[in-house]
Subunit: 341 residues, 2 copies
DNA sequence: CTGTTAGCGCATTCAG
DNA sequence: CTGAATGCGCTAACAG
């Protein structure tokens, strides 16, 4: 059996209050008593029971994190920021993976509530109103990180999608491109963040006096890429596009594969730009020009915001949204047409 | 303030024991009393405080997981298995990232001990004897998952590295290859798991009457790949190797990139095989033939083993090692020389 | 079947 | 500066 505060008190020949005072440095203790207590702690290898402590202080130092899938690289990168910053403030992370099931997320919220977490961070792709509602009901502060939607009902941290798409498009024009196609997932069209990206692209095109042109994909995999190629082969071969700006890295890479398989070369016959900044984008050849999302920072900012709200005892329903800046990574998948001609 | 068991008891006009009995279904309760209690729970939206419950039952239902870096894809895949299976048994995951610092790992162990975790899973690349020693001292059961070392002092789950390398080598010979080079990281040479891989390769070569040939890499990145190419360009151009079996996927891919940059084609001029089964291996073209490690299963088996030891109150120091089988994924990076000639 | 009671390990009054 | 006493919310005897 592990030793308790009582054992320490007995050994040091003081009361448990004194021991408590020493451990927490909460009130003055005579040097002599302190010495004896320290010694007893050492000898007994005493470690305070945080469960008991939580019960009385009503502070669990626990943050619940509900993610869609921890195996997802985006999620784990964000979690990295959450964990590291949380730890700086003595908070521990309670982790759960919902695999995209809204009911399961609600279940986790209940579970975490019973475990007395002080706040919850949601890193999910789905839009779960019921979850937000429950959290509000439970009076648990939360912060949402969502790649697809802007959440109105809770503090959210995401990237500045519009500026990102605008800047990338602008960069492409700087590189001499005029026929810039934007490849978007059809399923993403109703997602707020994708709408912002489209708006950014559209604005930049118009600001440069160019016409936006959209290509629609059914997914990001090889099949979807092949479909796009088939549908647009005519245009592609006729150089109707000099560059394709894809709304996701993976899609860009699969499209590049398809191009290669069809005897074209990147970037000579077609340039490519992606979105995300996945590790893939760096390892693939040619390296993919892309928008790098600051995953770690997103997590870090989210937990900072959460801890702030916990301090303020504010279960806030303000629609505050924190927009993080992104970086355009310029690599070899985009040809510089200025030099070329 | 959240409602407590007392509030429920008062409202249902019973004692707190009765409420406790209803929630835990631990002892018979009259239908009438049960109904009233259920009703009060409903109305008050009562959720038992797990902290208080843990204190008295001495059961936290918490598993601590110490990882080297949650952002690492291998780690997060394993964690997926741990989390999902753990949850099946009502266990929650307390997560911490050590970033490879042994002292930090020990600190986490202490912290987790104070938080009353029932067991700890270590997913790390380093060999941390002190951590194992502390865990033993704290009497906390643990299971280790390590890609590089076999741990003798604690239950370990890993893959059958020797069989994996043997089978891959054997497969390469089946494809008609005789000049099979094994590319290994120099830094990995002293790691037990790499030794097993080398042994598997060597055994398979000798069983087929072939001579093992080693190439040494300083890393897995582009630079390291270039170095290897420079050092062995002569041999490579003279077809001294028909295939290079690399000890890590990333190295294989960077080597393939270098080959391409030097005007060679894969697999026509040189075949490649990797080890790991990373997502990269599937997206890269040509798709990489590789050894797929069952990440999810590794995590799942590890936590099952841990929970079993917790049940048996066994802080076991038996050197039990669980070896999981691997799968050879046959793809386009290896040419079938039988057809060719 | 039910209520009373005694802790779990600790922080925190409140007297001294 | 220190100790005795109280209670955090709950489970588990125990007696009825």
């Amino acid at each position: 059996m592990a030793s308790t505060i009582k054992d320490v008190a007995k050994m040091a020949d003081v009361s448990i209050s004194t021991v408590s005072r020493v451990i927490n440095d909460s009130k003055p203790v005579s040097p002599e008593a302190r010495r004896r207590v320290m010694h007893a702690i050492e000898v007994l290898d005493y470690k305070p029971n945080e469960v008991a402590r939580s019960l009385v202080t009503k502070k669990s130092n626990l943050i619940g994190v509900i993610v869609s899938d921890i195996g997802n690289s985006y999620v784990s990168q964000v979690l990295r920021g959450v964990e590291e910053i949380g730890r700086m403030y003595q908070y521990d992370i309670l982790l759960s993976s919902s695999y995209g099931d809204p009911e399961v997320e609600v279940k986790f919220a209940k579970l975490f509530s019973r475990k007395q977490v002080e706040g919850i961070i949601i890193i999910s792709e789905i839009l779960n109103q019921k979850l937000l509602y429950k959290l509000d009901e439970f009076k648990i502060p939360c912060v949402v990180i969502n790649r697809f939607y802007n959440i109105e009902e809770a503090p959210t941290v995401t990237i500045n999608n519009k500026a990102a798409a605008y800047n990338m498009t602008d960069y492409l024009t700087e590189m001499g491109h005029k026929d810039i196609g934007y490849v978007v997932l059809r399923n993403d069209m109703d997602r707020t963040n994708e709408k912002y990206k489209i708006k950014g692209y559209r604005d930049a095109m118009e600001a440069n006096g160019l016409t936006p042109k959209f290509l629609y994909a059914e997914g990001t995999d090889e099949e979807a890429a092949k479909d796009i190629f088939r549908q647009h082969e005519e245009e592609i071969r006729n150089k109707k596009y000099s560059v394709l700006f894809c709304s996701q890295d993976l899609l860009a890479i699969n499209l590049m594969n398809v191009m290669r398989d069809n005897g074209m070369t990147v970037p000579d016959d077609m340039s490519f730009a992606g979105f995300g900044g996945s590790s893939l984008s760096e390892i693939y050849r040619p390296k993919l020009t892309t928008v790098k999302e600051p995953y770690y920072d997103i997590g870090a900012v989210a937990i900072r915001k959460l801890l702030k709200n916990i301090d303020n005892k504010k279960v806030d329903n303000d629609d505050e949204m924190i927009l993080l800046p992104v970086e355009i990574i310029k690599r070899q998948s985009v040809m510089d047409l200025n030099k070329e001609k």
